[in-house]
Symmetry: C2
Subunit: 320 residues, 2 copies
């Protein structure tokens, strides 16, 4: 493996000069530069990123942390990767099975193996995580309020109000069921808050509730539970288009008609929503990611941070 010293020798200069050429820092005369470039080319020299990283204590890599995969995570990865790519950063992906897994990553962070962290999902509580923010920027799309961890969340409270209002405006005093995410998540809490407020004048709005911390198979399970219900709500509001799609798919297999027999409202406006004519809310995931990543990069590169304002949009299609 040809290294910086070989090139220096071949070009008849010192290591430092070669380093200056390849790192683009410091002055190098044109003659030296030519000789060095020529020698490097002859020898097939490529700088060792590892050595550079060790020296600079930075890897130009952001850690992407999730608990498990589901399509929205894929979308997140996609957006994050593309944004980082533009700025010359790479992404390292981690799926954590336990709190300890996550702590291990956090420790690597301490040792500059990762320059920044994006949490698609977290296992340790934010209180634990934010302690690590002294080692570098951390952000998430999850909803938290912290000086140490940036969050590009959208507030589900007004959105859920909007959905419920739409339902009553359109269908009157129907009974409504809810397929929700993890009860402990702030977004779920915000939804529950909206729900409780509407409940005053409209009892049947809270006819059925199920919670799923993970999206995989949630739609199927919810459909099975729904079908066993003696009093079936006429409208179901779901926390993600993916889950809603699976829910509908199982229902249709069992000869339920959507939207005739049951109306379904989704959330997030993913491809699953688009392809299944789902009424949903577009939360502009790509903008959320953009904010999160820009925040990380602005801290890393000491540049100014511009936050995009996100205005979620209700999208009415056929299922509700």
């Amino acid at each position: 493996m040809t290294n910086i010293f070989d090139v220096a020798e071949a070009a008849g200069v010192s290591k430092s000069t070669v380093s200056r050429v390849f790192s683009g820092k410091g002055y190098v005369s044109d003659t030296s530069r030519q000789k060095i470039l020529q020698a490097a080319d002859d020898l097939g020299y490529v700088p060792s990123i590892l050595a550079r990283q060790l020296r600079q204590q930075s890897t130009k890599t952001i850690g992407f942390i999730a608990k498990t995969y589901y399509p929205a995570v894929g979308d997140l990865m996609n957006y994050v990767t593309h944004m980082l790519d533009k700025k010359g950063y790479k992404i390292n992906i981690y799926f954590t099975k336990t709190k300890e897994d996550e702590l291990e990553i956090l420790n690597a962070f301490k040792y500059h193996t990762l320059d920044g962290l994006f949490f698609a999902d977290n296992r340790n509580n934010w209180h634990t995580i934010k302690k690590f923010s002294e080692y570098g920027p951390i952000s998430t799309w999850r909803r938290i309020n912290s000086r140490y961890v940036y969050s590009s969340y959208v507030d589900h409270y007004p959105l859920y109000c909007k959905i419920l209002k739409y339902v009553t405006d359109t269908y009157g005093d129907v009974s409504v069921g809810h397929i929700l995410n993890d009860q402990l998540k702030n977004n779920t809490k915000a939804r529950l808050r909206a729900l409780n407020e509407f409940k005053a004048g409209w009892e049947k709005i809270d006819s059925w509730k199920v919670f799923y911390p993970e999206q995989t198979n949630a739609g199927r399970d919810a459909a099975q539970k729904y079908m066993k219900l003696s009093k079936k709500p006429q409208v179901i509001v779901v926390y993600s288009d993916y889950v809603a799609s699976e829910f509908i798919s199982y229902l249709r297999e069992n000869n339920y008609k959507v939207p005739e027999d049951i109306k379904v409202f989704g959330f997030d406006n993913s491809d699953f929503g688009r392809f299944n004519e789902l009424s949903t809310i577009d939360t502009f995931l790509s903008l959320q990611v953009r904010n999160s990543i820009n925040k990380i990069l602005s801290e890393l590169e000491q540049t100014e941070f511009h936050e995009y304002k996100i205005v979620p949009k209700i999208i009415i299609r056929n299922t509700c």
Copy 2:
């Protein structure tokens, strides 16, 4: 940042002994070990992965290379990440915009910044890529035959034959259209080969063909083209469930009925297929990935390689 030397000093031993404890290699007396562990704990010591990597010329990281994101790529990432995770490896994700992007990664590979490479997609031709296999194992799910790059492909030829046979057995002498992937890809060539063979006794089988190197918006575009056709094929075979779903979705928006007016056959049995009742073929993507990654790991760790045999399955649902 506390390093190995600080711990050595605090424990009253040498660096090497500390190294032996944390790398788990070599003998260390119980008394030393206790002292070292204690000191490390007191100082909050965590070994620097970067330094270890530089020293060992290995990063325990596999590069995942794709051109662009679409849901199947997300599934691949998911499978790859989980498999690597189990073996203590990480994944670095790259989306290449140009051949040069890809070459840059290949060069990093040369410098042991990546231990192995998985190509979800490639920009340079395989001839160029395989030259880099001397620096470490490379594999892909794309179809190629090479001693240097492992490929876990499934052969599309018999599968396409199976689909076409199913169509004729079920619907007789109908006219068939085809939405295909990149013409240059071996899988597409295999499909075309099957198509040509069937053509002999069944002219209308090749009534319409469109090619899309990328999946994004392919379904929509194909639907628009289809609707402009004066003679519309009654059956359309599509190269991925995702594209098929988008295709169907646009058609339905324009009041076509599937399967009444037009029948659609998908490919790959993804969630999109499941949720849209698509007839499709399950190619067991997770097994393809398992083979690819196992191959890489077996070379890295010098262990035996067991190849899973993949037997794709035709799945008949409602769209065809």
